[in-house]
């Protein structure tokens, strides 16, 4: 098992009443409500929490980024990863991930990631994402070319890491005539790439076809199973059998010494869901051109998603909250049914205090994660690091690939 700690780094104390009044809390919700003292305090508390997470034994720290919204204050994961590369000693730094299409120069990104990998002495996992709809607006990146840019930037990134320069890249969306950056990653052939997502079939298939682990972001049990079916089929088509080492899962999971306190913190996840679902504007979340044309009509006919009540989400394992024993029991169900070897625990959000966050991290590291490792061992859930799986399909020896035709 590879067990990670995650928080979205929310600006939990932003004036919610103002957002209620405005109707939205993202994109056009004014940054005049930003408070520098508060943000500085939060950033420093988060750093302390990450260092503590390493101390109590988590395997990895997962980082993500969003823009123009208080629900996630990481404007650039490479910056936090740089800080952590210098301040931590053992944990993997798992970027999930750099939003490739937003970059106009993926070679600069290759340099930044390379530097973090060098400083951390090879502890980096360099996940990649398309960036959500709001990110396209925040950076004025054309959503209609998002997937094309994602795939081309990926190809360029890999080439920049693995093929000695100088060479030139004259692509569809990127043109760079002198690629010869003097920063290359510490890990060879390149840092591992993981791909998080909330179930876009195209991305699941693309990840499987590259043999990159897919990290399902808090999807329902049924959706997660459907994802693995799609992933496994695509993996078989390109010639390998996908296993737990390709399966990652992120779950909201808050733990405290007693149940009452745990639910107090667990309910903070509802605020997050409000940000995403309740107060998001459909055309900011999904700008025209961002989604797949094949699902266009279905999306337009769908009713606006509303987060189910907290109690219902506890029942369906969308949120887990409780004492260490209670959460382990529930996480076991997820592990048994969906068999991930990479598990990220999204533990603290909304207005959970620094003190409570630290206690949650302590319990995760000292009680929950050791139990999960035992369960994972029993279920044979070995991480990509444990089985030393190839970093990609391109780096899988050809004689190990036995493609199965789609019709078989």
């Amino acid at each position: 098992m590879h067990l990670m700690y995650f928080t979205e780094q929310p600006f939990g104390s932003y004036p919610r009443a103002e957002a209620e009044k405005f109707g939205y809390s993202t994109t056009l919700f004014s940054n005049k409500h930003f408070d520098a003292n508060e943000a500085s305090r939060l950033y420093n508390e988060r750093l302390e929490e990450y260092l503590y997470a390493e101390e109590v034994g988590v395997d990895g720290i997962m980082l993500n980024e969003h823009h123009n919204a208080p629900y996630c204050m990481q404007a650039k994961i490479n910056i936090f990863a740089s800080i952590l590369a210098a301040m931590t000693k053992r944990v993997k730094l798992v970027l999930l991930g750099n939003p490739l299409p937003l970059s106009d120069n993926p070679v600069r990104l290759a340099e930044e990631i390379g530097m973090i990998d060098l400083v951390s002495k090879g502890r980096l996992v360099s996940g990649i994402v398309r960036g959500s709809g709001g990110e396209q607006l925040a950076t004025n990146t054309n959503p209609a070319f998002n997937r094309e840019r994602f795939e081309e930037a990926h190809d360029l990134l890999i080439k920049a890491w693995t093929q000695p320069g100088p060479w030139r890249w004259e692509g569809n969306h990127y043109q760079l005539r002198v690629v010869n950056q003097w920063v290359l990653p510490y890990q060879k052939p390149h840092p591992r790439i993981w791909v998080p997502g909330i179930f876009s079939t195209e991305t699941v298939v693309w990840s499987a076809e590259h043999r990159y682990p897919y990290i399902a972001l808090n999807t329902t049990l049924d959706a997660t199973k459907a994802i693995w079916k799609i992933y496994d089929d695509a993996a078989a088509r390109v010639g390998y059998t996908a296993g737990p080492e390709q399966r990652g899962y992120l779950i909201r999971c808050h733990v405290q010494d007693n149940e009452e306190k745990a639910h107090q913190g667990g309910k903070q996840f509802m605020w997050m869901q409000g940000e995403f679902l309740g107060k998001s504007h459909p055309y900011w979340t999904m700008p025209s051109g961002y989604g797949s044309p094949t699902t266009r009509k279905q999306r337009l006919g769908a009713k606006k998603a509303v987060a189910p009540p907290y109690e219902q989400q506890l029942e369906t394992l969308q949120i887990i909250a409780g004492t260490p024993d209670q959460v382990v029991k529930k996480l076991r169900v997820i592990m048994e049914q969906t068999r991930p070897s990479i598990l990220a625990l999204w533990a603290n959000d909304g207005g959970v205090s620094h003190k409570d966050s630290m206690n949650c991290i302590r319990l995760l590291g000292q009680e929950v994660m050791p139990a999960l490792r035992d369960i994972g061992k029993g279920l044979g859930l070995k991480s990509p690091f444990e089985v030393n799986s190839p970093v990609s399909l391109a780096y899988t020896p050809k004689d190990q690939l036995k493609p199965v035709p789609a019709s078989a």
Partner: protein, 261 residues
């Protein structure tokens, strides 16, 4: 209201590898009508009135409505090139054009590329130039219905056209058209920095029409077009927003009809 007329017919024109859908109707000298970014209006009253003296060619831009999508297209100039190609396929040259909003921008681009493409050019509140005052309304920050309603001075006229709760089929057409608009006009949003430098070469007699209550494209753009085109006059229609052809169909038909006469 959209008017169904036996005299109109749907045609498919092959433009390179693309099939372009077109509505044709009326009698008289050819008039190319280039639609807005939310799609072909169909045979609306304004066009019916113009059709008394003109044969109207109303193509759906490549990538819009059910015309084929040019995956490679990145700019409004690309669409303008395809429309010049379309005219070639239809064996039309030196004809009249009416460009509505976004379609007006396409017409202007066509004119800069072929100074002989049009005999006369009527543009209703065209996008395409960066406003010296104000900003072009950003439709991508709102949904299609809210945007189209904002295109009207009188929202009830908009609702008469599409209803206050459009069908999923209508939403799908709007979405297809928004996607194509995104492809060609996302950045810079709805203008081209080189167009103002090319317009002075277009000597085509031009009529620029602006709805007095236009909340989409600032009135300053009308003045800019008038000043940049060497042979243009600017007219304003009271009581109309951006969608002049829907809100004041007869007034626009008369202005354009008289200009083309």
């Amino acid at each position: 209201m959209t008017i169904a007329l036996a005299a109109t017919k749907k045609e498919t024109v092959q433009v390179g590898s693309l099939k372009v859908q077109m509505l044709k109707g009326g009698k008289g000298s050819p008039l190319l009508v280039l639609h807005r970014e939310f799609g072909s209006p169909g045979w609306i009253q304004c066009l019916e009135e113009l059709a008394a003296k003109h044969t109207i060619y109303l193509p759906s831009h490549p990538g819009f409505d059910s015309s084929d999508l040019p995956q490679w297209a990145r700019s409004v100039r690309d669409l303008a090139c395809l429309h010049l190609w379309l005219l070639d396929e239809l064996k039309l040259s030196n004809i009249d054009v009416l460009g509505l909003g976004f379609g007006g921008w396409i017409a202007a681009e066509m004119a800069t590329m072929n100074h002989k493409a049009f005999r006369k050019m009527a543009l209703a509140a065209p996008m395409g130039v960066q406003p010296k005052e104000g900003e072009i309304y950003d439709q991508f920050l709102v949904g299609p219905l809210e945007y189209i309603q904002t295109c009207f001075h009188d929202k009830t006229k908009c609702n008469q056209q599409w209803g206050s709760q459009p069908t999923v089929d209508q939403l799908e057409i709007w979405e297809i058209n928004r996607e194509m608009t995104t492809r060609v006009a996302w950045k810079p949003y709805m203008f081209d920095q080189s167009l103002p430098h090319l317009l002075p070469g277009v000597k085509t007699p031009s009529l620029i029409v602006w709805g007095k209550e236009d909340k989409i494209v600032p009135a300053s753009c009308g003045k800019q077009y008038q000043q940049l085109l060497p042979n243009a006059r600017l007219e304003t229609i009271a009581g109309a927003g951006h969608c002049v052809e829907y809100e004041k169909p007869s007034e626009l038909a008369k202005l354009v009809g008289d200009f083309l006469a």
